[in-house]
Subunit: 105 residues, 2 copies
């Protein structure tokens, strides 16, 4: 569940969304996009939780990997649907992970 | 719900946790810690969602603000309880937000 990321530095894309009512179709597309992102070069891991708000954090090797994923044609189509149909609000933050730590019992 | 952060650069602390069973007391402490963090210098905002996993992203002006919050005595106590009692797994990532964008309808 918690992404097994390598030693920093690496990039995080923090993706915060709220949905319009009647956006059930979104869940199918989100699942497809997660599966697709896993096949992209530079993908390092993903964590995602949704209740009334969704937070997805996706980890990438570098900015080039993020740019490449952003420009993927199926992803572009999903972005357009998201903006026009599904999302009530969206905030994407691109951040350089400098340090991480933790544990697993 | 989505944090109203200023123009980048600023810092994000990405806090991913899974809980041990019987950690109901955690929710009260988590709520207290969110309220306390809001009173700390350099606090910029917070987003938090939990189902079987919790993702909380807390935004700070700079690394000094994060260090100051980390060393707060009540927060230190909560960290100790978290590590010893509540968390099954934990990963904290400290990241410099370089860019953000989005919309609200």
């Amino acid at each position: 569940m918690i992404a097994k990321t390598p030693e920093p530095p690496y990039y995080a894309v923090i993706f915060i969304t709220t949905l319009q009512e009647g956006s059930e179709e979104y869940y199918l597309m989100a699942k497809q996009m997660i599966e697709l992102s896993k096949t992209m070069p530079g993908f390092l891991g993903i964590e995602s939780v949704r209740t009334d708000m969704g937070i997805t954090v996706c980890y990438w090797k570098d900015k080039e990997s993020i740019s490449n994923w952003y420009n993927n044609s199926l992803h572009k189509e999903a972005q357009k649907m998201g903006r026009n149909e599904w999302f009530k609000s969206l905030r994407i933050r691109i951040a350089l992970v400098e340090r991480d730590y933790g544990f697993e019992k």
